[in-house]
């Protein structure tokens, strides 16, 4: 006897990733349930740098450059759709973005990285140019004398990621997406073409399941014959008081939000306790920021925090459907902000069809790990 399916799709994880997919599925008329953790989840959706970022993505996997470029090109459409459905302006801006170098050596490293990216077979052209100090200064007159130069990519941008998160959740109700917080999934089994998901608040039955639980995918995926090798790390971010807009362009380590705060970030620690915070790391990041823009020295820091990055072993996304449990999908990615439109507009229809489009996301199968880990991959 088959199980009574309450839902077409159960999405495990209600962060930006799961929410983008669930919203996309809901727009396609699917009956969707989102099973999420509670308020104290280690949630990258509330601890990220809010960049929509293209430059230097894809070194080692050129398909990732194209996938990211596609997101940059469709982000404005996502922002517009969310505003139409919720009235919330998520403040997507794409003025292009910079990576600044503070020494000739950093400039050489940047040049090398860009050259290696450019030389990859099949690499998409994302028009990143290397500028010397004068070139950067013409676009950002506020830079300090220590800036040796930088790279500029016109496809880079940023967004108010907290508002994106809120907008997606607000839009759920419009499409009947059933959001259930405090429902961490502890076990999943496939039976008679449906999936039974066990939570501490009871069981859910759905026709398909999408694992979008961040680093927790590592433990959930094997329950469905899938493979999600995760290797999280931690980042710290320093936030200043609000100032009148003066930074037009987002940068890899520095951006001014739409509401005026300046975010300084991009540290990377192996430690994965987000309750710990190390001032010396903040001090280095703040010092570099002030060397880039001396006027920042006049601003007060109002908070600093740590967040856990969702990260696969090689840093690239994973999209797979289970061979042993058709209808079970795993989705892992670091860039839940950047890739949100792809997850809503490209991935959701593939899940509805029950087949991942090999030409679009085939490069991101966890099969690529098979060589390294002795064939554990799905």
């Amino acid at each position: 006897m088959g199980l009574a399916r309450e839902f077409d799709v159960a999405v495990v994880g209600g962060g930006l990733l799961g929410s983008s997919i669930a919203w996309g599925l809901g727009r396609l008329g699917q009956r969707v349930v989102v099973l999420d953790e509670g308020d104290i989840a280690k949630r990258a959706s509330r601890a990220n740098f809010a960049l929509v970022w293209v430059q230097t993505k894809g070194l080692g996997l050129p398909a990732y450059t194209a996938w990211t470029l596609r997101a940059s090109e469709t982000w404005a459409g996502l922002a517009q759709a969310l505003e139409e459905e919720t009235g919330l302006d998520v403040c997507f801006r794409r003025p292009g973005g910079f990576h600044l170098a503070l020494s000739d050596r950093e400039m050489v490293l940047r040049r090398d990285t860009l050259a290696r990216l450019h030389n990859q077979p099949g690499a998409a052209d994302y028009r990143t140019e290397l500028l010397d100090h004068e070139g950067v200064r013409r676009m950002m007159p506020e830079i300090g004398p220590e800036v040796a130069g930088g790279s500029y990519c016109p496809y880079d941008g940023h967004v108010n990621s907290l508002r994106v998160f809120r907008a997606l959740h607000t839009a759920f109700s419009r499409h009947g997406v059933d959001y259930r917080p405090d429902h961490p999934v502890t076990a999943i089994s496939g039976e008679n073409g449906a999936f039974r998901l066990v939570t501490k608040r009871g069981e859910i039955v759905a026709g398909k399941v999408v694992l979008a639980a961040g680093n927790a995918n590592a433990t959930l995926a094997p329950m469905l014959g899938l493979h999600a090798p995760m290797e999280p790390n931690r980042g710290q971010i320093v936030v200043t008081e609000r100032a009148a807009p003066f930074l037009q362009y987002p940068m890899t380590t520095l951006r001014q939000s739409d509401e005026g705060t300046v975010m300084i970030g991009d540290s990377k620690e192996d430690e994965i306790d987000d309750r710990a915070h190390h001032m010396p790391i903040d001090a280095v990041m703040a010092s570099r920021a002030v060397r880039m823009f001396p006027m920042l020295g006049a601003l007060n820091v109002v908070r600093a925090w740590s967040g856990i990055r969702v990260m696969t072993h090689d840093g690239f996304p994973i999209y797979d459907q289970s061979a042993s449990h058709p209808g079970a999908f795993v989705v892992c990615c670091h860039s839940g902000v950047t890739l949100a439109p792809n997850h809503a507009f490209d991935l959701a229809p593939m899940i509805v069809r029950g087949a991942l489009d090999e030409a679009v996301v085939g490069a991101f199968s966890a099969r690529r790990f098979a060589a390294q880990d002795g064939g554990k991959a799905a």
Binding site: E241, R242, A243, A244, F246, E259, G260, M295, L296, A298, L299, N300, V302
Partner: protein
């Protein structure tokens, strides 16, 4: 609106609020001195421009943010006044120069 307790004989100091000399008592917090001054001391928030004034007086609500001796967004309720202190009421976002 606020009146000092009549018997208070604490030493008087002078602070400057947007250039206006104001008497305060040693031991006052900046926020208390501003409230006692009778001047229009409402700041405007950086995002929406909404008016705010000191509220919790114990370091929690951040509604008393004020520029003290050139340093912006300090919590007025946590800083004791000092003779000659220069206070600026914040209107909107700081403009960096």
């Amino acid at each position: 609106m606020f009146k000092r307790i009549g018997s208070d004989e604490t030493e008087i100091v002078t602070i400057h609020v947007d250039g206006v000399a104001v008497e305060a008592r040693l031991g006052d917090s900046v926020a208390a001195a501003l409230l006692a001054s009778g001047l229009p001391i409402e700041r405007e928030t950086p995002v929406s421009g909404a008016p705010r004034a000191p509220y919790c007086m114990m370091g929690v609500c951040f509604d008393c943010l004020v520029t003290i001796d050139g340093v912006g967004s300090r919590q007025g309720c946590l800083v004791p006044v000092a003779d000659g202190m220069r206070i600026a009421i914040q209107k909107g976002r700081r403009v960096l120069t």
